[in-house]
C-alpha cells in the first residue's frame, strides 16, 4: 500500500476531520518541494510568496534531518513535564525523536496550520506511529481559529510550549495574526533571567518610594484632547506643528520624545518612562529641572526616578505593587512606552486621543526621529524582515515587537467610545483609528483652549506632591 494511503487509513481512525481537510487540497509542487537529503531521507523546501518577492526555506536539514531532530528534541522537550504543546508538524522527524523521550503518562499536543506541509509529510513518510500514539493528539487545521479554540482549554501553568521554528515561518500569510500569537508566546518564554532580575531589583527599590500614584490623574481630563508624542521616524515631519497646539491639547510625551520636543522649545504637559534599563537616564539628561510631571512605571531604573527633580508619579501594573489598594489605579503598559501612554490617556478620560510619531514600522530605513534615541537611527532593511501595511497601502518593514504594539493598540481601543486619531505622517495603519494629517487635526479638532496648567496644578496640590508647577 502506498505510504500516503497507509497514513490516511491510520489518521482516519482518530482524526477523520483532518483527513477531510487533507483530501481537499493538492500542494503546489513549485511551492512545496520535496528533496532527498544526503542521508537518503526526505526533506521539504517551502517557497512563500511575499508581496513583491518570495522567500524559500527548508523544514528540515537537507543533509541529516534525524541528527538535527535529535538535537531539537533533546533541547526542547522537558522530560519532567507531563503536558507539552508543539507547534509545527513539519515532516515529523522532530516528533519521532520527541516520542522516544515521552513517558507512558506524557501527553503531546501537536498544532499545525499549514495543511500543504502536512499533506507532503504524509505523502513522503510513514507516520502511522505518530497517528496511533495514544499520548499524542493532533490539532491540525487550515483554519487558525479552530486551532486557537482547541488550544485555549489546554493552556495551564504546568505545560511546556515548543515551537518548531521552520514550521512557524510556514504558517500561511493570511493567518499572520495567528503566527504572531505563536511567535510572541515563544519570545515570552525566552525572556532572560537577567532581565527578570533587573525588573525585580527595580521594583524593590521603586516601591519603597513615596511618590503618588498616576491614578490621581484618572478621569481628570474628561472633554480634553490629548496628543501622545512618540519618536517614530515620521515625527520629524510634523513635530514643529506641535508648537501651535499648546493649551489646546494635553501634550503627553514618551520619554524619548522629550529631547526632540525641548530642543524646539515645545514643552510637553507631562511625560512617561517605562523602560527598566539604565539608558533611560539619557532621556532626562539636561532636563532634570523642567518641573513637568514625570510618570514612571514601577519597574524602571530607580536612578532615573531619583535624578528627576520635578513632580513624579508612579504607575503600577500589578495589584501587589499598589499601596493604596485602589485597583482602578492599575495600568496596562502593553509592552512599550507609547502603549502605556495610551492606556493612561484613556484612563485620564481624554475625549480625543491623537498619536504622532507612532509609526510602528521603519520609514526609509530609519527607526526613530532625530534626537529620539542615543543609538543609530538607521536600520538596514533586509528581505527577511517582517512587513506591515502602511497608511498609503505600501508594505513597510517592521519588527515583531512593533507589530505586537500595533495589535495591542487595536485591541485596547476596540471597545472605547471616543475618538482615536493617528496623525503620524507615515507608518503602519492602526485599525480602529482615523488617519488624519496633524495640520488638519489642528484645524478640525483642536478649536477650543483649556487651562491645562491649572488642571495639572490642582492635581499636584491634591496629591500632596511637593513640586507645584507654576
Amino acid at each position: 500500500m502506498p505510504v500516503f494511503d497507509k497514513n490516511i487509513e491510520a489518521l482516519r481512525k482518530r482524526y477523520p476531520f483532518i483527513v477531510e481537510e487533507v483530501m481537499e487540497i493538492e500542494p503546489d509542487p513549485s511551492k512545496y518541494q520535496v528533496e532527498t537529503a544526503s542521508s537518503g531521507l526526505k526533506t521539504l523546501r517551502v517557497v512563500q510568496d511575499l508581496q513583491f518577492d518570495s522567500i524559500k526555506f527548508y523544514m528540515h536539514s537537507k543533509y541529516n534531518p534525524v541528527s538535527e531532530a535529535e538535537n531539537f528534541a533533546k533541547e526542547q522537550y522537558k522530560i519532567e513535564t507531563v503536558v507539552h504543546i508543539l507547534y509545527g508538524f513539519g515532516m515529523g522527524y522532530h516528533i519521532n525523536e520527541i516520542c522516544r523521550l515521552m513517558k507512558p503518562e506524557s501527553k503531546l499536543y501537536i498544532l499545525e496550520n499549514n495543511i500543504n506541509v502536512f499533506h507532503k509529510a504524509i505523502e513522503e513518510r510513514d507516520l502511522t506511529d505518530i497517528f496511533t500514539n495514544p499520548g499524542i493528539e493532533l490539532i491540525i487545521s487550515g483554519d487558525a481559529g479552530k486551532i486557537a479554540n482547541s488550544v485555549k482549554s489546554l493552556i495551564n501553568d504546568g505545560i511546556n510550549f515548543i515551537i518548531h521554528p521552520a514550521s512557524l515561518k510556514a504558517i500561511p500569510s493570511e493567518n499572520e495574526y495567528f503566527r504572531f500569537v505563536m511567535e510572541n508566546w515563544n519570545i515570552k518564554k525566552s525572556i532572560s533571567e537577567d532581565y527578570l532580575k533587573l525588573i525585580d531589583d527595580n521594583l524593590k527599590s521603586n516601591l519603597q518610594g513615596v511618590n503618588p500614584n498616576v491614578g490621581v490623574f484618572f478621569e481628570k481630563f474628561k472633554g480634553i484632547p490629548v496628543v501622545i508624542v512618540s519618536t517614530g521616524p515620521s515625527l520629524d515631519k510634523n513635530i514643529d506643528l506641535l508648537k501651535e497646539v499648546k493649551g489646546k491639547v494635553l501634550i503627553f510625551a514618551v520619554g524619548s520624545a522629550l529631547r526632540p520636543l525641548l530642543v524646539r522649545n515645545i514643552v510637553p504637559d507631562l511625560f512617561i518612562i517605562i523602560d527598566p534599563k539604565k539608558e533611560t537616564l539619557n532621556q532626562i539628561k539636561g532636563f532634570e529641572d523642567i518641573e513637568i510631571p514625570m510618570i514612571y512605571l514601577s519597574s524602571i531604573y530607580p536612578g532615573t526616578v531619583s535624578s528627576y527633580k520635578g513632580p513624579k508619579f508612579i504607575a503600577c501594573y500589578e495589584k501587589g505593587q499598589l499601596t493604596t489598594g485602589k485597583d482602578n489605579y492599575l495600568i496596562d503598559p502593553g509592552g512599550s512606552v507609547s502603549t502605556a501612554a495610551l492606556d493612561i490617556a484613556i484612563k485620564m478620560g481624554c475625549s480625543t486621543i491623537i498619536l504622532v510619531g507612532q509609526d510602528l514600522a521603519f520609514i526609509d530605513g530609519k527607526n526613530h526621529a532625530k534626537h529620539g534615541t542615543d543609538l543609530d537611527i538607521n536600520t538596514p532593511e533586509l528581505k527577511s524582515m517582517r512587513r506591515v501595511r502602511g497608511q498609503n497601502g505600501e508594505m513597510l518593514f517592521t519588527t515583531l515587537g512593533l507589530l505586537s504594539y500595533k495589535y495591542w493598540i487595536e485591541k485596547r481601543i476596540e471597545k472605547e467610545n471616543r475618538q482615536f486619531i493617528n496623525a503620524s505622517e507615515g507608518g503602519a495603519i492602526i485599525n480602529g483609528m482615523k488617519h488624519i494629517k496633524l495640520k488638519d487635526v489642528i484645524t478640525d479638532y483642536l478649536k477650543e483652549s483649556f487651562n491645562i496648567k491649572q488642571r495639572i496644578k490642582t492635581i499636584l496640590e491634591e496629591s500632596g506632591n511637593a513640586h507645584v508647577q507654576e
Partner: protein, 125 residues
C-alpha cells in the same frame, strides 16, 4: 626579517583563532538545530567578524605558506549560499551549510596552518 617575524605571529594567532572558529561554528549549529535561533543569529554576527579577520590573516601570509598554500576563494560559494540563507531566514539551511560545508574547510585550513606554523618555527631555529 621583521616582516617575517610579524607573519609568524599572524600565523600563530590564526592557528589559535581557527580552533575557536571551529568550536564557535559547532555551538551555532547546535543552537540553530535546537531551536535557539536568537542566540544563534547573535553569535553568527561575531563569527562573521572573526572569519573576516581570519581571511585577511591568511591572505596576508600567503607568501610563507609554501606547499600548504590556502586558497581562500574556496569559501566564496559557501559565503554566497550563507548570505542567501540568511536573507531567506532559512536557519535550517544556515545550520546545514555551517556544519556540512564550512566546518570541513575550516578543519582543513587548521591542518594547513598548523603545518605552516611548524615550518616557520623550524626555519627560525
Amino acid at each position: 626579517m621583521e616582516n617575517m617575524e610579524l607573519k609568524r605571529e599572524v600565523i600563530d594567532s590564526a592557528v589559535e583563532y581557527i580552533n575557536k572558529v571551529v568550536l564557535g561554528i559547532g555551538g551555532i549549529v547546535e543552537d540553530f538545530q535546537s531551536g535557539r535561533e536568537d542566540k544563534a543569529t547573535n553569535t553568527m554576527a561575531q563569527l562573521i567578524d572573526g572569519l573576516h579577520w581570519l581571511l585577511q590573516a591568511i591572505e596576508g601570509t600567503k607568501d610563507v605558506q609554501g606547499d600548504n598554500f590556502i586558497d581562500i576563494s574556496a569559501v566564496n560559494p559557501i559565503f554566497s549560499q550563507l548570505t542567501e540563507a540568511f536573507e531567506n531566514t532559512d536557519y535550517v539551511l544556515l545550520g546545514d551549510l555551517l556544519e556540512y560545508e564550512l566546518t570541513p574547510i575550516m578543519k582543513n585550513w587548521k591542518e594547513r596552518l598548523t603545518f605552516v606554523q611548524e615550518e616557520l618555527r623550524n626555519a627560525s631555529i
